[in-house]
Assembly symmetry: D2
Homo-oligomer: 333 residues x 4
Amino acid sequence: MLNVGLLGAGRIAGVHATAISTNAGSRLAAVSDINAEAAAKLATQYGTTARSTDDILADSSINAVLIATSTDTHSDLIERATAAGKAVLCEKPVDLSLARAQACAKAVAKTGRPVMIGFNRRFDPNFAALKSSLDKGEIGKAELLSITSFDPAPPPVAYIKVSGGLFRDMMIHDFDMANFIMGAAPVSVSAVGSSIVDAAIGAAGDVDTAVVTLTYADGRIAVIKNSRRAVYGYDQRVELLGSEGLLQAQNMLENTVVKSTTAGVTGAKPTYFFLERYMPAYAAEWAAFVTAVTTNSALPVTLADGVAALAMAEAATLSAKSGAPVKLATVTA
Amino acid sequence: MLNVGLLGAGRIAGVHATAISTNAGSRLAAVSDINAEAAAKLATQYGTTARSTDDILADSSINAVLIATSTDTHSDLIERATAAGKAVLCEKPVDLSLARAQACAKAVAKTGRPVMIGFNRRFDPNFAALKSSLDKGEIGKAELLSITSFDPAPPPVAYIKVSGGLFRDMMIHDFDMANFIMGAAPVSVSAVGSSIVDAAIGAAGDVDTAVVTLTYADGRIAVIKNSRRAVYGYDQRVELLGSEGLLQAQNMLENTVVKSTTAGVTGAKPTYFFLERYMPAYAAEWAAFVTAVTTNSALPVTLADGVAALAMAEAATLSAKSGAPVKLATVTA
Amino acid sequence: MLNVGLLGAGRIAGVHATAISTNAGSRLAAVSDINAEAAAKLATQYGTTARSTDDILADSSINAVLIATSTDTHSDLIERATAAGKAVLCEKPVDLSLARAQACAKAVAKTGRPVMIGFNRRFDPNFAALKSSLDKGEIGKAELLSITSFDPAPPPVAYIKVSGGLFRDMMIHDFDMANFIMGAAPVSVSAVGSSIVDAAIGAAGDVDTAVVTLTYADGRIAVIKNSRRAVYGYDQRVELLGSEGLLQAQNMLENTVVKSTTAGVTGAKPTYFFLERYMPAYAAEWAAFVTAVTTNSALPVTLADGVAALAMAEAATLSAKSGAPVKLATVTA
Amino acid sequence: MLNVGLLGAGRIAGVHATAISTNAGSRLAAVSDINAEAAAKLATQYGTTARSTDDILADSSINAVLIATSTDTHSDLIERATAAGKAVLCEKPVDLSLARAQACAKAVAKTGRPVMIGFNRRFDPNFAALKSSLDKGEIGKAELLSITSFDPAPPPVAYIKVSGGLFRDMMIHDFDMANFIMGAAPVSVSAVGSSIVDAAIGAAGDVDTAVVTLTYADGRIAVIKNSRRAVYGYDQRVELLGSEGLLQAQNMLENTVVKSTTAGVTGAKPTYFFLERYMPAYAAEWAAFVTAVTTNSALPVTLADGVAALAMAEAATLSAKSGAPVKLATVTA
């Protein structure tokens, strides 16, 4: 039984609290947050106590922490928690700075503690089934990967300004998805982007629509498409052409009702946003973490995976600015 | 090469003229119609001549006739054409009177000439593929058949009055489809119907919405649903549950475009009516007739099939009136 | 806050325990079962205590009971619980005997306590969305309803023998669905059935494949199809033709992955059985019960609904045996 | 009535011969081919005569020619036919050399004769419906276009060697589709390609898998994906994200039958190749040409469109070799 300290008490922390509580192998032992009221409320709802982060890290009865705080605290908390002997599941990204994330990985390596990064989409039943089908050889060898990832609506410009930019904030999930499916890092990253959805996003120095092409040493190619706005809902699809077929993971819909009238044949929209779409993925992600930590087996997503995705985001950011492809090696070196 | 006389020059005759002309094994030799103008126009369009029906039947260079005249002339023309030695493809139904159709079948039998009834839906690529899958054993043994057959809009009440009623005029196609799929006649026919679409249809003594349940000697069951009005278009589906799976032949759509907006995910409607939906079926039907006649092999649909479907329509009409199931044997005896 | 006693500790009781525990308006106060071990285990898992049914009913701090025991105990427990002042949610069916269920309804009426019957499918997001669309007038007036309800595999013959037969045990859910959609009881019930899936089911006096046609006073028609075996999974669909369109609630699938190979284009199967398919429905059902009871508002499904569905099952059983339609009034009189 | 000379008697010429013959506004007046036997056979089948190209061009009773010869003859024949006063529909591409195509356009301009290039996909009912929906404003303003275009199997390497390469031979259709949908030429073209399907294609200096990203002056982006091999059939899809929604034109399937078994839910494959998929498009293309020429109205696709697509192919070829984006203006200047 893992005794878990939850660092953070915001919306996503609530999702994790449910996963921790309903998993038979884990127990929510404590919650902390800089907002004491939020921490207290979450603790009450899940029958646990609100404590300080220091307290939680110092408590040797707590085996693991789940870090769901703001991005700028991730690296520090990962280092402190592993130094204190905890197993860690940390929300993505590791950090907005690649150098800081790389330093964090070195520090963690010295502790030998397991750190998993919360790339929850790997645990989505649809993407996991696609990957499983590929691994069974059902479409032969992978050749051409396409990832479509559109948010329903752009975040406030104030958020955009501190987000690290679309490639680090939004597409980072898709970079990890590419790594998950392709099982290798790309050689080169070529990005184009524009602020066609909202000029204010462009004025803030970011893009809201982007396409990234990845090439691999063995000739494979991947394309990632991002938009900050798909008015019909959260559009999350993966498509993979292989030597013996095609795999497509399509959107989940709000319901299965289809209406046929003189106006056409209309079905439900995709589930609206990530909480609706990825709720089962969060539970599966936590279950995988608990299993790996309690059985001392390999984590399904590692801190190195977090660093790798961040390096791709860095390369894409550079490429979109320069207008030329960027070799990933020039970024990670 | 079949030299073909086309009896009738209405809308459906035009469809058949195209099929005859584009088939490499047949040639449109002549057209007749009680409306001389219509016959002349069709003849000109297809590079042939308009003649009288008597002429066509008397012309020994004409091997086959396609009967696309009004229903009340079918039995007579079948008898005359076969007596004149022609091979015949006749539009459904054989006759509105079961007794007359049975007499026609006896007369034809004496001539030994091949007569095929135009149950074109057997040649629809979708229904044909469903039947082929069943015959290959892909869903094991058939158990429960469902046929959905809705017209886009009811015909004029004037037509309803001379149509023979929904079961003889509209559901007859579905009775033949049941016979095609099940490969056997049912034991009993149980019908309910109402005039919920248009009270004037009820006032004319007919129904516009009906459900018929067929039971088979070996325990299989079939259900046929008819409505004279599906505002979204021609709804033509077949679904078959078997011991090892389910087969569904779905509607053909006007195009494959799907639009996702805040209002939902909308695709195209089914093709509007029988000419759009069954155009490929008419060509395939004619090709099958040509092949069978020119190679002296068995016809894929026979006059006996036409009589069988008519008997089921008769039984359904009786059942809907009496409110009790009707044994098919009591009708055909 | 409802304090809830859960009567029964079997598989479906576990589902209800989760719903009670996670609903913010209810609390699992106690569990009872004739199998003391099962009750103790469930109580431990959900942090409550196992007590006797007598104890629970006598405890005035418990406001509501959820009855998830075997069918033969339902009527008695409903009567005892309402006499003790509890609000009740009872699993379907009320009883296998229509007379007993009617007597139960009379007894309950005297107590004035609210009793809801667990027709969980009304709370399925898909069927609920279909009903909502109908109620908004999106397809005009209802005309022809079709319900497809196939189990993945037949139960053991030993179960069949005590089940009350397919119409009472399995199709009862579909009778209630028809009542839910149509908003009225039918006038006549016409049933055919056979034991084509498993001859042993026929030998036990039951059918495994059945079709029931319902007619309504205003001319509407409904068809229900049941099979005990659809090897591809739990097949639960509703389709409604209206004067201005068609609504279809389709199956939920295990995932959204589609694979295209030389063998065709293959997607996932429907979710396997009722726990997978209806898990969200159980939670929504409980939430609706809690809301109605705590706000003293009308229950969305009543004991009268349970009696009505049972009467239709009785009529269908009679019709399948006699081979003739049965007026519902002759059964309920 | 257009009297039409058909130049070429190969497979695609046969498709055009049917379109010319069945269109009420045109008549197949003559056929020519360097293979006299092929020309004679086609002429016989369609009831016309085989003549020399010189003869056809010299015959003043022939108003229009359809050029369906090998690519290397297109520019010359367009120039000769327009000089002879004919209206021209020429199969794509205009030429493999951009300079030659540009010279051809200049020569044609002097004659004032109408020349349409055979980008048949614009007339596909699905892509045409998508474009129509966009033009009606149904998804607001276009933002991000994706074109998927996979052949079922690669051509022989011998063909590859004379094809001009994937970008000129295969993706040229997709460049025109982008121009059709976006209504503007892109500013820059960025291409990656590899020979992952067949190493022999790489050895011949070509690629078999490629991704091209196009950027537009107003911030819009388009992505085109090509593969020479999709074993499940011809994969031809267009997807367009707009400010108010998404449009997707999906594949056409061989039939609508769906089979559900323990192995999953399987539907038919896409139609196999371009003749099956685009047969209706060829007829619609010809009809549009006849209408424009006989009413002296604007052609829906012009020679300039053919040159524009070729320029994009040139830019993509350069970009794939250099590894850097290419400004379209540097190619067309």
